[in-house]
């Protein structure tokens, strides 16, 4: 099977600890469900990700060097 994370279209997906999630939610003043979503079955997700987790995605941005976004893992 091909290693999806190696593809240049796929940015890094990193699982966040619960404390980090709280920090993020506090910074943007949003609730978990306000975040963009990502499916549990998404091929780019780390294997250990579970529904309810939040992943941090570091994109190579077109408008700045790096853009950090967060997605909530949903079923």
């Amino acid at each position: 099977m091909v290693d999806v994370s190696q593809h240049e279209l796929v940015p890094d997906h990193v699982l966040l600890d619960p404390e980090e999630v709280d920090e993020v939610l506090a910074e943007y003043d949003v609730t978990r469900t306000n975040l963009p979503k990502i499916k549990r079955t998404d091929p780019a997700l780390p294997d250990e990700a579970e529904v309810g987790d939040v992943v941090k995605i570091v994109r190579n941005s077109r408008t700045t060097e790096e853009a950090v976004v967060y997605r909530l893992v949903v079923s």
């Binding site: 290693d3 190696q6 279209l9 796929v10 940015p11 997906h13 910074e27 780019a44 408008t63 949903v74």
Partner: protein
């Protein structure tokens, strides 16, 4: 703040007081720290200058509060869209492959069609496959669907109820480079025919013969029809592959362009660089690489479509917004009745878009409520909309200027 040696409590207080988001604050700390490392010290005044400088730039580049970014994007893509060609087909710049362009392609993208009109892949190769023409051709043959007519001549002998295939030696060896004996390859082909048509074959050298199990004229003709459909090598969906030598980052390498796409299958083929190969079907990208890659592809494809038409001054942020919205819920949603616009909470907003009566009828049957928070609802109701100045309350003090 322990991470930075030269950031004092005073400097920290200054930076923390700015409106910057946490990530930019960290960068400011880093910059101050680096500067202090070089020059010995950064005073609080200097730090204040740095922090306010960064803050000013940040505030300037922000979208104004209550700015209707979606509407601005819609206009900014829609107006250039009026100048696009309505012609569906013409040959694209690369590799003589027909690609849908212009308005039809843009519509296809925002509609998130399951399969594009003209699916194609750009296959990059790795290692020596990319530099050696012979090796590159090996990959071509394992991608392009090889059917019987490409391999030899088919003739029907009605008198003996036989189909006879005269395979071409050179073609066989060319397409099966790992074999050196044409009759060996003919054996593989005969086996494939037996498996897919359910008939017995006779093979001598590179000639393969077979007939219907029961003598029947109709059966014979049908066998020939079905024989033409069998894919002996390659991927069924790929009709044609064009090989081109291109210069990428100063190096020359072979790149394959395919008519038809089967992204998942192509990535598994030996010699294919699975880190750079792409295709123009956003759903195939989504299935194989995930939602983030799909978002990236939507931006790329819409951007290229606009650029191809000479409309390259559309700001990429508008396209990024479109891609963000389309991938917001973790899968690709189309923009329109069946996607984003159809899933709005407000009944009136949905009714205002398309199929008005159906939406109102459904809403009446289900006893739906409308909170009237959105723009369209308030336009319909004749109230100020909650955007721009419409959502700002003005407060005035009673103090007269010069009163102090």
């Amino acid at each position: 703040m322990t991470e930075y040696d030269h950031v004092t409590d005073d400097i920290e207080a200054v930076v923390e007081a700015t409106e910057l988001p946490a990530r930019l604050k960290d960068e400011v700390y880093e910059a101050i720290d680096r500067k202090a490392e070089e020059t010995g010290e950064v005073t609080v005044e200097q730090a204040t200058d740095i922090a306010t400088g960064v803050e000013n730039r940040y505030v300037e580049t922000r979208v104004d509060p209550l700015d209707p970014v979606g509407t601005v994007s819609a206009q900014s893509i829609g107006e250039p869209g009026t100048q696009m060609t309505m012609n569906t087909f013409h040959y694209a710049g690369v590799a003589e492959i027909d690609v849908t362009q212009g308005l039809p392609r843009l519509i296809e993208l925002v509609d998130a069609r399951k399969t594009p009109d003209t699916p194609m892949m750009t296959v990059h190769l790795e290692g020596e496959y990319a530099t050696d023409r012979q090796k590159a051709h090996e990959v071509v043959w394992s991608i392009e669907a090889t059917r019987i007519l490409a391999l030899g001549d088919v003739s029907t002998n009605v008198a003996d109820m036989l189909v006879r295939i005269d395979l071409n030696d050179d073609t066989l060896l060319e397409r099966w480079p790992t074999h050196s004996d044409p009759s060996e390859v003919a054996g593989i082909i005969a086996e494939t025919i037996e498996d897919s048509l359910g008939v017995d074959t006779r093979q001598s050298g590179t000639v393969v013969e077979f007939g219907p199990n029961e003598p029947s004229y109709r059966e014979l003709l049908q066998l020939v029809e079905r024989l033409r459909e069998i894919v002996f090598k390659g991927i069924e969906e790929i009709e044609r592959v064009v090989i081109r030598k291109e210069e990428i980052d100063g190096d020359e390498e072979f790149v394959l362009y395919t008519e038809g796409s089967a992204f998942g299958d192509a990535l598994d083929i030996e010699g294919v660089d699975a880190s750079r190969t792409t295709c123009n079907n956003i759903h195939e990208i989504y299935r194989n690489l995930g939602v983030e890659a799909a978002r990236e592809t939507i931006i790329d494809e819409t951007k290229n479509t606009l650029e191809e038409q000479g409309l390259d001054d559309v700001n990429v942020r508008h396209l990024m917004l479109v891609a963000d919205i389309m991938t917001n819920n973790g899968e690709i949603e189309s923009i329109g009745r069946h996607g984003i616009s159809g899933s709005k909470d407000s009944v009136l907003a949905r009714a205002a878009f398309e199929v008005t009566v159906n939406h109102l009828l459904d809403a009446a049957i289900h006893g739906e409520y409308d909170e009237l928070d959105g723009v369209i609802e308030n336009v319909i109701a004749g109230k100020p909309i909650s955007l721009g100045t419409g959502d700002v309350d003005l407060r005035m003090g009673s103090r007269v200027v010069g009163d102090d």
